[in-house]
Symmetry: C2
Subunit: 491 residues, 2 copies
């Protein structure tokens, strides 16, 4: 075996282990009996330990060093493989094992406390653990290293190459235009015409499956199930699993299906030659979110889409939609209602929710904000940016799991994804000027084909910034997203 074959054998084993762990997590969310959580956690710890020891194996480091010496003699994909394995190896080895264990123990401790704090509206009980999580994340950044700011090291975990400075630039360009648009869009709201429990779950499941199949989700290489929160995960190149939740009171499940379906389309169309390597999956959280948001919002909340799908919706739910006109439906699914909860936010408000979290977590990591002052800072910004009064920490600073999970630097990728979705869609529209007709005729294969060619098939071969540059000809530019929003909400 040559050096690349050796590296690939190591990568394949690690890839298998990570897919097995993905199965364990999927099963935990979808199938696990209630009293099996503790033993599953133990099994997961055993698996993580085995994978971790393989990830930090000095012999792996030596293989990577040797391969790096071959450098330019390698193919583009092999160069990318070596680069990515170096990145993973460094990230794994820079953190001392006792730190990893301590951080994992701290998040295990923090999660149930956060759950209880949110339930009881008791931020004070969670604050000391949050302070510890901030301190640990700050130490994590020091271990990982950074050029300008500690926060950069955390961002880089989720979005390679992204920095706080770059996020600031993008978010500064969004803040005021979003506030202005929200203020103006107040009149666009429209309430659903039904009340009470109107949607049979079986019918919703059938419709969600139909939506997924329509955009090209391959049910021979994946499945859709129910869970408490929708998610998408890959158990291998041929096994992409999405989940959804079904409320008898709303059609939100359709947009969840399109969102998770967007993630899944990306994964299902990664080149088969990249399977069992770290290149065989979507490249970053931001680029991934650009695809979920593209299918959910840019396509899935457009008039063209519903010109095609309203007949299907009427057929599935005649009592609710039999008489509904397209215009009414569009006002309903694009209503702008600044509110308290990020995951329920409309397209305009959503990014202000993210901006607030970014500003606050950056201040926490930089030591400019104490955790005890966090609720007040949160509530002030919600009043200022979104014009809403926060009645309780449960619906405020305690609403998201991320910080309890020790994930700082994750939130910005949601908005980075929205920005990238509009920029990528702009590039698509240039090659398909009749894009509204393409959607209106349900020719999603054409759109998926272009996205596959441009993005999906490459997996993680190109770093996110480089990929965006290749696809759109420029680096991340918030103008496309703002223009998209203006065209949609300001007419």
């Amino acid at each position: 075996m040559n050096i690349i074959d050796h590296l690939r054998a190591r990568a394949a084993e690690l890839s298998d282990l990570h897919h097995v762990m993905a199965l364990m997590q999927w099963d935990q969310e979808v199938m696990l009996p209630v009293r099996a959580a503790a033993e599953r956690a133990q099994q997961f710890a055993t698996m993580s330990g085995i994978a971790h020891r393989k990830e930090v194996d000095p012999a792996l480091g030596e293989l990577i060093r040797t391969a790096e010496a071959d450098g330019d003699a390698l193919s583009v994909v092999d160069q990318a493989l070596v680069r990515r394995m170096r990145r993973d190896y460094d990230q794994s080895t820079k953190l001392p094992e006792e730190f990893v264990v301590a951080l994992s123990a701290l998040t295990s401790q923090a999660l149930p406390v956060w759950v209880a704090a949110r339930k009881n509206n008791d931020f004070a009980s969670f604050a000391p653990l949050l302070a510890k999580l901030v301190a640990m994340s700050r130490r994590q950044a020091d271990y990982l290293g950074y050029e300008k700011e500690p926060y950069d090291a955390l961002l880089d975990l989720y979005e390679e190459g992204l920095t706080a400075g770059r996020v600031r630039e993008c978010f500064d360009a969004l803040r005021d235009p979003l506030r202005t648009m929200i203020a103006k869009a107040g009149g666009g709201r429209d309430e659903p015409p039904w009340e009470g429990e109107m949607f049979a779950v079986e019918e919703q499941i059938r419709f969600a499956d139909r939506m997924l199949a329509m955009i090209g989700f391959d049910f021979d290489r994946g499945r859709q199930d129910r869970s408490a929160h929708p998610f998408s995960t890959g158990l291998g190149g041929c096994d992409q699993r999405v989940t959804n939740r079904y409320s008898p009171r709303s059609i939100e499940f359709i947009f969840s299906a399109l969102h998770e379906g967007g993630h899944a389309l990306y994964e299902q169309n990664v080149g088969a030659d990249l399977a069992r390597t770290p290149l065989g999956a979507g490249v970053s959280l931001g680029i991934h979110e650009s695809q979920s948001r593209l299918w959910e919002n840019i396509i899935g909340r457009s008039a063209s889409f519903w010109r095609h799908c309203l007949p299907l919706l009427r057929e599935a739910f005649p009592a609710q939609f039999g008489e509904m006109e397209l215009g009414r439906l569009m006002r309903m699914i694009n209503a702008v209602r600044p509110g308290l909860i990020r995951v329920e936010a409309d397209e305009l408000s959503y990014n202000l929710h993210v901006l607030i979290r970014f500003e606050l977590e950056l201040a926490l990591i930089n030591g400019e904000l104490a955790t005890t002052d966090l609720p007040a800072a949160w509530n002030e910004r919600y009043r200022d940016y979104l014009g809403v009064a926060v009645p309780s920490d449960s619906d405020g600073v305690l609403q998201d799991i991320h910080w309890a999970h020790g994930s700082f630097g994750y939130f910005p990728t949601y908005t980075i994804g929205n920005l990238a979705s509009a920029q990528i869609w702009h590039a698509y529209c240039a090659v398909d000027p009749e894009h509204e007709a393409t959607i209106g005729q349900g020719d999603f294969g054409r759109i998926r084909g272009w996205l596959t060619e441009q993005i999906y098939r490459h997996g993680s071969v190109y770093p996110p910034e480089e990929l965006l540059l290749r696809v759109t000809g420029e680096r991340l530019n918030p103008d496309y997203f703002l223009r998209y929003l203006k065209n949609k909400f300001m007419v």
Copy 2:
């Protein structure tokens, strides 16, 4: 850590890995998208390799040796732990790695060939691979070692301590009495009164769940799902999964639920202190089958049981059972119909199916029968023992997966289980003379409690023979089973 703690840490890691692999197999049977089979097999091979290297680690052998030196100073459970870990270690290390790989490759090759051969009634295409599998199993026996016959080594894999000689003794006691009883019972048959697709699957699932809950299956520590063939598997002490299949034409699912439920009750009631050790599961295939058969047949096909359950059945399926009397139902579910297919056989015929397989596989392993002569030998015995003509190898010698899977020595455990079930039930009846009333009142907790105390809680602490001796006061004795059959079918 003392030596036992070291051993327990090793055992815990291996137990976790095996439970993760059990999850992978459960998911494969119940959830896996059709095109993901190949990559799942690869992931499974990676996991098996990791587990195997840990199982044959010389350092583990050294730990076991050291613990053995402590001998009598250890507690009963710790002595059992060391004994069991020795057994597992020897079984793993006696087989050279290249042999294990070659056997695994051969069975992977043989399985699809067997599937095609059964489909096309083409034994000749499977015969060469079967010959190789026999030869490999013979070699396996040589590696494992035996006192009297090679077949003993294979039997011991599934039923510790069982020998061909002992099986012969038991089966010789069964052969003629079974043939006589079957001939006499011919008049007891009764056809179901319905035709066509009568049973709604959703209603069957609800009823199967109800049956499981009734006998004490804990749905907080397990679940029931659908698969092509019913099975029961443990993903941990708190996660027991059973599956069932539902035909719209029969109530067979009820007996499958009780059968798999019996396996699951055993596992769910193993002492929690044995978790994450090789003692934390049922001790052998035979003892396990004694529990599935006890709940399925001895309890589940008794008049007392249906005195309790017929009202539930009438309620669930009024069209089919609303008018049916207990006597009619009993004749129907206990009809004796010697046939071709083992898994469809009645209580009397079933063990003759097993006897035939035992006699033939013993002759194969001993080199007294060539694989090419197998179909003729099979068909002759079916005519002789069961009085049925075998119209095709698909419904004859090709019907079971076991040999294609390289499993020789497995079949006898089915009948060993039946024998043990009657012997254990006899012991129960001695402490509960009102056992018919206990069942008739649905007091299954009383029966489960006794079985837990006597058998379940001990997991694998006592070897199967010793366990049976402790519970019933004697070693395996076919008389109890024959007496049970006579009482049931010859009145």
